[in-house]
């Protein structure tokens, strides 16, 4: 029952690029996944469990990108994650010894060591498949899980390739169906990247709603009367929720956002960088490349070199203060809007899931406190999810959002500048040549079909938004270039082989095992001529 005057629509989008390197015993970038599991995803599950135990509905939305899902379900990465945990627990035990004469640091070392032990216990409880945990809460009606396009591309840059956009959506819907046994209702567009017309592809796959940036809606020539405080609908009936800027800024702002509070734990200071190499070498990359270990003993503190030791009690006080502050602001805004709006206002607050726990150590505590306070204290606010909100059939104004994103400056600059613009020539050409293959081999079976399906996977993986982002940042640039080279190269190997009638099974099998995303994807989705069934582009699950 909703008794409040308005809604909070909290959305966490979980995404990591597909990174899996069986050819190495130890690959640095795979640790991005392990850190996110340990610091964000498992703690989020812990939060959901605690709230359930206290009979408090969590009522949030979480999107899992198909590439992340593929990694979370991968046996090799699962085994490697256990090795990662073992190493971190071992490091914790050593830290307990090293710090025994310093009670404060010792307490922090124990806190981290115990967290890794808990991760291990939780991970084993889910038999290595943490998505089962989230599915449990979805089935219990506590959370809503949605999806994102297959390899997480910035879709506006693929507008001229509609079959490719369909393939991205189909691979997402298919992956979702495979894991959760049903089709998703919502689509998180990577970085809120939207272009007019995208809604037709989404509707083909029976998506009910998506999200845009604030200006995607408010700069629309026919912007709805109440701006971001109500969802609107596009001409074809799909609903969209626009991101609220004020609530985003409270968390995201580099200047004034909560995570920068001096009492919170500092992300950058880590014993992986602070302690002597001979001590830390067994726990860092290849025993010589210093990396974060997760053992971080300092607080953000003030400007300057001297950091204060992290004090979890002080941080906990700040968590409560910031949760109260957040809800106070939202309650005040809802209070102003409620008397003048016909429908109850809704504030849509999307955040990266990895911000919580990983970058902002106390973030999950903060989110849990927000949820608890809404339940106990802020009777004027209700938590909701998009499907739940839409199930009450609110009247939605028709409004055409504009091309936009939530990236820097609001459009496509992050993914299209001097550092990364060269990639589109190659990725677009690979799409065109894949479509050429589809027209030449419209209905092959057996090994040729396997090869073409893998070609489609490689072309999709080349489109991941992460590669141009990494190139722009400069850090790990060579890795991003190498990945693009790998996917485009794999595609052309198949392209050439299909033309010459040559291909190695060993090679194909190895590539299939390595880049094992979207296992049920059919290359035929790249055929623009595939007849649509009930607007479903031939997709088998959209007709449920």
């Amino acid at each position: 029952m909703n008794h409040g005057k308005g809604f909070l629509n909290i959305v966490l989008h979980a995404h990591l690029p597909f990174i899996k390197h069986p050819e190495f015993e130890n690959f640095l970038e795979e640790s991005w996944l392990f850190e996110a599991i340990s610091e964000s995803y498992l703690p989020l599950l812990g939060m959901l469990k605690r709230l359930e135990a206290d009979k408090i509905p969590s009522t949030i939305t979480i999107s899992f990108s198909p590439t992340l899902i593929a990694m979370l379900q991968d046996d090799l990465l699962g085994k490697r994650y256990l090795g990662y945990l073992e190493k971190h627990i071992d490091l914790g035990n050593r830290e307990l010894e090293r710090t025994q004469d310093d009670p404060k640091v010792h307490g922090l070392a124990q806190m981290y060591r115990d967290r890794y032990l808990k991760c291990l216990a939780d991970y084993q409880e889910y038999a290595g498949n943490i998505l089962k945990g989230f599915d449990y809460f979805q089935k219990a009606g506590v959370i809503e899980i949605i999806t994102t396009p297959g390899s997480y591309p910035f879709l506006p840059f693929y507008e001229q390739y509609p079959a490719n956009v369909s393939a991205q959506i189909e691979s997402a819907v298919d992956t979702f169906h495979m894991v959760f046994g049903k089709t998703p209702k919502g689509m998180w567009l990577p970085e809120c990247g939207y272009y007019p017309g995208l809604e037709h592809h989404l509707k083909d796959y029976e998506i009910d709603y998506f999200f845009t940036s604030a200006h995607g809606l408010m700069f629309s020539p026919d912007a709805p009367r109440w701006g971001v405080f109500t969802p609107a609908q596009v001409g074809n009936g799909l609903a969209y929720f626009a991101r609220d800027l004020e609530s985003a800024n409270l968390v995201w702002s580099a200047e004034t956002g909560y995570p920068g509070d001096p009492d919170y734990r500092d992300f950058y200071r880590d014993i992986g960088h602070d302690l002597p190499l001979e001590y830390i070498s067994p726990f860092i990359h290849l025993e010589k490349v210093r990396v974060n270990t997760g053992y971080k003993y300092y607080a953000v503190s003030g400007k300057g070199d001297n950091k204060n030791l992290y004090n979890p009690d002080l941080a906990a006080n700040k968590v409560l203060e910031h949760a109260e502050n957040f809800l106070y602001h939202q309650s005040k805004r809802i209070g102003k809007l409620d008397p003048v709006m016909a429908e109850k206002p809704i504030i849509t607050c999307p955040y990266s899931a990895e911000l919580f726990g990983h970058r902002w150590f106390e973030g999950i505590q903060w989110l849990e406190t927000v949820i608890r306070l809404v339940d106990s204290k802020y009777g004027d606010l209700d938590l909701t999810t998009p499907s739940r909100y839409l199930s009450n059939s609110p009247k939605l104004e028709v409004s055409q959002p504009i091309y936009s994103s939530w990236g820097n400056k609001g459009y496509g600059e992050v993914w299209l500048d001097g550092s990364n613009d060269w990639i589109y020539r190659h990725v677009h050409m690979a799409i065109e040549r894949l479509q050429e293959l589809v027209s030449r081999f419209p209905d092959v079976t057996g090994l040729k079909e396997r090869a073409l399906n893998q070609a489609a996977r490689e072309v999709l993986l080349a489109q991941s938004i992460d590669w141009p982002v990494i190139m722009r940042s400069g850090a790990a640039e060579q890795y991003a270039i190498q990945r693009l080279r790998e996917h485009i190269g794999n595609f052309y190997r198949i392209y050439d082989a299909m033309g010459q009638g040559t291909l190695g099974t060993e090679w194909l099998t190895k590539v299939e095992k390595k880049n094992n995303v979207f296992p049920r994807l059919s290359y035929k989705v790249f055929n623009l001529g595939v007849p649509k069934r009930a607007n479903a582009l031939g997709h088998p699950y959209a007709l449920e």
């Binding site: 400007k303 496509g412 090679w507 190895k510």
Partner: protein, 261 residues
């Protein structure tokens, strides 16, 4: 407040220019945070000339790290070269080319033009010209008469349409184009000037629609009741620069008046 100095927020790769913009204290901190191997003698220096030595040393160390990283990244290639030195024959002949050795071609042997809208002010165009067309242009003596034309697409009959022409070289293959007008659509043409200076088309791009990039007139013209309240609560000031600079002045004035709401 967030710590203002974080090496990971500095431009990367870290050039000497970037390093020169840092004070002594931050340079030393950078050395500590990145655990660079710099001698104590260089680190303890405090004069300007010694600062240059410190910058040189940091730069050299960073270059070493970068090179080492590049070497690490070539390991997959070496591994796969060994792994796939012989492959099973599937459809016919063995292939001994490792896909990871793929080199991105500078251009493709097709003639095409792709136009991508970066934001309401800038579009990005890239193109390829096939060898056949290159030869044809050479035969015609037109290989130095190439151009890109950005053409506004008509919405109604009596509208004056914008058109921008940019001469390009045969060696060019991409260009950022300042979009002359917003709230309209554009198509680009890759062509060359004929003998009467008319533009002969080699390739056309798709059509891109340019948003106005400005707050909806619905709000600016107060066609809605309570627009003031909506604007005050929407926190539009935190939109990015491209967006914010395009908010009509009258709306910005209202936002400023309503700041106390």
């Amino acid at each position: 407040m967030l710590d203002t100095f974080c090496p990971f927020l500095l431009p990367w790769p870290m050039t000497k220019e970037v390093l020169r913009s840092l004070g002594f204290k931050d340079l030393k901190r950078l050395v500590a945070l990145l655990d660079l191997d710099i001698s104590d003698e260089v680190l303890s220096a405090s004069s300007d000339s010694n600062r240059d030595d410190l910058i040189d040393s940091i730069h050299e160390e960073l270059e070493d790290v970068r090179r080492e990283r590049e070497e690490l990244n070539t390991l997959p290639i070496r591994y796969q070269e060994d792994r796939f030195s012989s492959v099973e024959n599937l459809f016919g002949t063995d292939l001994d080319v490792d896909s990871v050795n793929f080199d991105f071609p500078e251009n493709y042997n097709v003639t095409r033009l792709v136009l991508m809208l970066r934001d309401p002010a800038w579009a990005f165009a890239y193109w390829d010209i096939s060898y056949q067309d290159r030869n044809r242009l050479k035969d015609l003596g037109k290989n130095d008469s190439l151009c890109i034309v950005l053409q506004e697409q008509p919405r109604n009959d009596d509208e004056m349409l914008e058109q921008v022409e940019m001469p390009i070289e045969l060696s060019d293959s991409r260009w950022y184009i300042n979009v002359p007008r917003r709230g309209t659509s554009y198509q680009a043409i890759l062509g060359y000037y004929g003998y009467d200076n008319e533009i002969l088309t080699l390739a056309r791009s798709g059509i891109v629609s340019v948003p106005l990039g400005t707050l909806s007139e619905n709000y600016a013209t107060s066609s809605f009741a309570d627009t003031d309240l909506l604007l005050a609560l929407s926190d539009l000031q935190v939109l990015g620069a491209v967006a914010a600079e395009e908010i009509p002045q009258k709306v910005l004035r209202r936002l400023s008046e309503l700041a106390e709401l």
